[in-house]
């Protein structure tokens, strides 16, 4: 299997998601396990062009703007790069999809690998799905 992830892409993705969906926007992409959830999309035969091209563009903007890779920058500078990223037509679409993906990974069913320990559901005021366990229902 080809490794499309490139050493840099995983860390760019992780760093971007940490800024796009921080704690408070749900548990936060990192805290909810949404980063691992999203990284799965980099694996496999044909990771989507929007993701690969977008991450490459983000890193390019960081190098142009600050002379460093995106994941090496501090959070305030990362935000500035993201603001430039979303002014780009490729960037704005990639950013939108990354946010949707991170929220999916924050609130999905934990069996899918995100919403770690039900943190997303707890944030949303749900009961972590525990009551879905039929053994907790009165059966007689």
């Amino acid at each position: 299997m080809k490794d499309h992830s490139k050493p840099g892409r995983r860390s760019i993705l992780a760093a971007a998601l940490a800024r796009l969906v921080p704690p408070g926007a749900g548990p936060g992409a990192v805290e909810a396990g949404a980063v691992e959830y999203a990284v799965q999309r980099l694996d496999g035969e044909q990771p989507a062009p929007w993701l690969m091209d977008g991450l490459d563009l983000l890193d390019r903007l960081a190098l142009e703007h600050d002379g460093a890779h995106f994941e090496e920058l501090g959070p305030a500078r990362q935000d500035e790069v993201l603001r430039r990223f979303e002014e780009d037509p490729v960037g704005t679409e990639c950013l939108r999809r990354l946010v949707l993906l991170a929220l999916e990974g924050s609130f999905c069913h934990p069996a899918r690998g995100g919403n770690r320990h039900g943190a997303g559901w707890r944030f949303a005021g749900l009961d972590n799905g525990e009551r879905s366990d039929p053994s907790r229902c009165r059966a007689s």
Partner: protein, 550 residues
């Protein structure tokens, strides 16, 4: 698998098929139920997964098994899942919220009450004839509710089998503001056990309900409440992943069974003495239209060109009241359980002068359906460009933590009209190579008028409750999976496909038992009425079988 020979063939396993299977198998007949979709189970439903829902776990795949739809505004038909109730054992009753109201007595006689309007017709039977079967259906499916709580409902021969579900604390202030306006709130009847019932547990509310399968079996469905018991008799075989492509007839014009395609793609046959088509209104009409023969060149029982006509969905109007928790310390807004289940029949009819016809709708108050992933994504992309970072955090905090919503759903009629019908699509085929159903859709103008008027009455109540904001999400919209009308029942074979027992006028051992028979859609959600009509037809099938008619 050898050729199947049985007494009664039932095609489809939802609200129409379930009562037939249970009644007939219990009475000693041999029954085969062929269901196009898969058989899922409680262990599947335990995983209440929004992504499964988004990917249509209970529905067919639109690239494989679509409908197509064309409206006055569209030039080309488009592929759609409009009109699919479900594709799985149990049908739409597997994922429904189970809001199981009876119709009002005047729902059965809209033409007599309101005069001519579009293609409105009276039913060939009335509330009084159906009432014993409403009681039977409520007992067999397992309903919780409070009979006689609304002065507007029809008479009841029996109370509900179970008392109402425990009430959310918001119910008290909600009822109070309704009563101050002279209205009569009543507990929404649910097919959900408020105590252990027929071997199924009482509901211990989980956060997910409507839209998802029930992991405990506390919510009754055709599968849980009816088919399971039918199979226990040993005389009912349910075959999933079975695509029926044609109902077969003999040279005398009697139904003889069907041709179907199994999971492996092999063509099979069932031979039966009587056939019940229960695929829901769009698919039942489609199956009849596909079942051409020398005696019925335009489709089975379609000698008058009426199969597929009078298609109706249901009117749906959705609204909300938004409450900032810090502004309402006296309102018990925090809890998401148990259910907030109150309804109003007070506006089932409109005052004079509002619309061309005086039919209004049924108001249902409830808490929002649980879909945190979809809600978060909608908030993040509401403006077009994605919101992110601290701005996103502020919005999600406001939505999930600081605010609460009460939702309003208005059920109202979709009136049959000459511009809304089903035919076979001349181009698009399903994955078995068969023409799909093409829906022609046009909404009568009254739908928006009734939805808006009744919806505003509901929003006034939320205003009274102190909502910080009220609004509509949909006004006079069309339900996707409440479908009726395509094989209209009536006394006159010149203007109807089925008689009052849902038997085809033209084919004496063929029954169409789902929403297809309904001359009007009713203002309330129709599912209980389908269950009841099916139990009534089941008695007729049984009587005919015992008489030796087939």
């Amino acid at each position: 698998m050898p050729r199947l020979v049985t007494d009664v063939l039932i095609v489809g396993s939802g609200a129409g098929g379930g009562p037939l299977a249970l009644t007939l198998a219990r009475a000693g007949l041999d029954v085969v139920v062929l269901e196009k979709g898969p058989r899922l189970s409680r262990s599947d439903y335990r995983r209440q997964d929004e992504i499964d829902l988004r990917e249509g776990v209970y529905f067919p795949r639109p690239e494989e098994d679509p409908h197509t739809v064309v409206t006055p505004n569209t030039k080309q038909p488009v592929r759609t899942l409009l009109g699919w109730t479900a594709s799985c054992v149990g049908g739409g009753t597997v994922h429904m919220g189970s809001f199981l109201y009876r119709f009002h007595p005047d729902d059965f006689r809209m033409r007599s009450r309101c005069g001519p309007y579009e293609e409105v017709a009276d039913w060939p039977f009335g509330y009084d004839e159906l009432e014993p079967y409403y009681s039977l259906a409520e007992r067999e499916v397992g309903l919780s509710g409070l009979g006689g709580a609304s002065p507007f409902e029809g008479w009841r021969s029996e109370p509900y089998p179970m008392p109402p579900l425990p009430a959310h604390p918001l119910t008290t202030p909600l009822e109070e503001v309704c009563r101050r306006r002279g209205l009569h709130p009543f507990p929404t009847p649910r097919g959900i056990n408020s105590r252990p019932y027929q071997g199924r547990p009482a509901c211990d509310p989980c956060d997910f309900c409507t839209g998802f399968g029930c992991p405990s079996g506390a919510r009754g469905s055709s599968q849980e409440a009816l088919l399971a018991r039918a199979e226990q008799t040993g005389r009912c075989r349910v075959v999933p992943r079975a695509m029926v492509r044609q109902i077969t007839v003999d040279a005398r014009g009697r139904a003889t069974g069907c041709l179907w395609i199994d999971e492996a793609g092999v063509e099979r046959e069932v031979h039966a003495r009587a056939v019940c088509v229960c695929c829901s209104a769009v698919e039942s009409a489609r199956l009849l239209l596909l079942s051409k023969s020398p005696l019925f060149p335009d489709g089975l029982a379609n000698d008058r060109g009426l199969v597929g006509r009078h298609l109706q969905f249901h009117g749906v109007t959705l609204g909300y009241g938004l409450f900032r928790r810090d502004r309402h310390p006296g309102l018990p807004l925090a809890a998401r359980r148990p259910f907030l289940d109150r309804s109003l029949l007070d506006h089932y009819f409109l005052p004079p002068g509002v619309g061309e016809i005086d039919k209004g709708g049924l108001i249902r108050f409830g808490l929002p359906q649980t879909r945190p992933m979809a809600e978060a994504q909608e908030i993040a992309t509401a403006g077009g460009r994605a919101v992110w970072g601290e701005a996103l955090a502020a919005r999600l905090q406001r939505h999930f933590v600081e605010e609460r919503r009460i939702e309003v759903e208005v059920f109202h009629d979709f009136f049959p009209n000459a511009r809304t019908f089903v035919e076979l699509d001349p181009e698009v085929r399903d994955r078995w190579g068969l023409p799909v159903a093409r829906i022609h859709l046009d909404l009568p103008s009254h739908q928006r008028i009734a939805g808006h008027w009744v919806g505003r009455r509901a929003l006034e109540i939320l205003d009274d409750l102190g909502a910080d904001e009220v609004g509509f999400q949909i006004v006079g919209g069309t339900s996707s999976y409440l479908v009726h009308g395509t094989c209209r029942a009536g006394r006159d074979p010149a203007t109807s496909v089925l008689d009052e027992h849902l038997r085809a006028h033209a084919v004496p051992n063929l029954f169409v038992v789902d929403g297809s028979f309904m001359p009007t859609s009713g203002g309330a959600a129709p599912t209980l009425t389908i269950f009841a009509a099916s139990f009534r037809t089941a008695d007729q099938v049984l009587a005919q079988a015992r008489r030796g008619d087939f």
